[in-house]
Symmetry: C2
Subunit: 231 residues, 2 copies
């Protein structure tokens, strides 16, 4: 890949485990609320609250906790108890304090790349939560710049590039979400490498045609990145 | 004031009304929970949850909603109903969508200053919520740079100055919180102007001796700032 000077990495499910923590929490949530309602409609109802609340709360665990509570209240017809609501809040607090599990080959890859490139971390979500994860990950020192955004779209990426004086043709984004890390990057004339993760939140899945004609590269593992960059 | 090139403004209760919205919500919260407990201990209990939860949730309305719910659960001995919890969440949603009320003389002052200085907005709190308020305020175009921080202390201010290539002696911070806007700024060798607001959250009040020997200036109104800068 010619002329790349800056490589930016997504964080959740690219550098460290994230979505499985939500999935596991959702399982425990079902155990709390399961007595009120069939668990089959729980996922769908919760997802509905999450999407509606995104516009009000933004991404992140605090909004997810509030969506779980609202789902529980609606599906129990208001008869969920205070004690059960506290159990749901406590599930969220456990998530916020969850150890940061770095994905395989991540640190070795960052080590290899740091001398040849300016490395950035660009993540979306809750500022406080993301800063806490970055600090606890032990990876912060690999990155020359960290950007936490409330949304990852063409406009926000363009602002980041402008603020950091980066030309799109020098910029490579690496991430696991076609919707957030790949499609908007290709659309602003920068390059992207897609490294799929085994679990993707429904909200991050894009229709096939949105990414069909875009010139991004897919790699099965982050460890292949340094060799690919030599091409 | 000699050599000032960059003026940064705090947002909440410096540019627009914030704390009174929390105070009014707390009043409505008391009406919901008042049947379970004497309202005298409610404020104290809620503040206790807020402070403990700051380390987990950070600043902002979502954390405040969760603290109100936890307070209600504890003080009602778990017998708060789902419907009442929903009422508390709805109070929070109203806060998040509250119209942004610009304080008197703010826009006129920004208009006067924008040609002579680089203007910044530096606020702490929830990324999504603060971005939404900045957008809705109609003031965004006055600012060359917006920084939303999870905390305002010496280390975070130093990072902001470094990232934007600003020398401390060129930098002036204007805000209503001695703790967040004045003391750390004076301690890093920059200058600060304190414009008190009629209501201050207990958490933002500093002991008198923490600010006693610091060379900040207090102005009763933001409209006095342009004239003061000529001195």
């Amino acid at each position: 890949m010619k002329n790349i000077k800056v490589i930016a990495f997504d964080a959740d499910d690219t550098l460290w485990v994230n979505e499985p923590i939500f999935t596991a929490t959702q399982q425990r949530f079902k155990e709390i609320v399961g007595k009120y309602v069939s668990t089959e409609i729980l996922d769908e109802k919760l997802y509905g609250f999450e999407i509606r609340n995104l516009k009000i709360f933004g991404y992140g665990i605090k909004g997810f906790i509030l969506s779980m509570i609202e789902t529980a209240i609606e599906l129990s017809g208001g008869s969920i108890t205070g004690t059960e609501v506290q159990q749901i809040i406590d599930l969220g607090k456990v998530m916020l304090d969850h150890p940061v599990e770095i994905l395989p080959n991540v640190e070795e890859t960052l080590q290899l790349l740091q001398s040849g490139y300016t490395l950035m971390l660009i993540t979306k979500g809750d500022l406080f939560d993301q800063e806490s994860k970055i600090a606890r990950s032990g990876l912060a020192d690999y990155f020359n710049q960290v950007e936490i955004l409330s949304e990852k779209d063409e406009a926000t990426y363009q602002r980041v590039l402008k603020r950091n004086n980066i030309a799109p043709e020098e910029f490579l984004m690496v991430g696991n979400s076609l919707k957030s890390d790949i499609v908007p990057i290709c659309n602003i004339g920068a390059r992207a490498i897609y490294i799929p993760f085994h679990t993707t939140w429904v909200h991050e899945i894009v229709a096939v045609d949105a990414s069909a004609n875009l010139a991004y590269q897919e790699l099965p593992d982050i460890s292949l990145l340094p060799t690919y960059l030599q091409k």
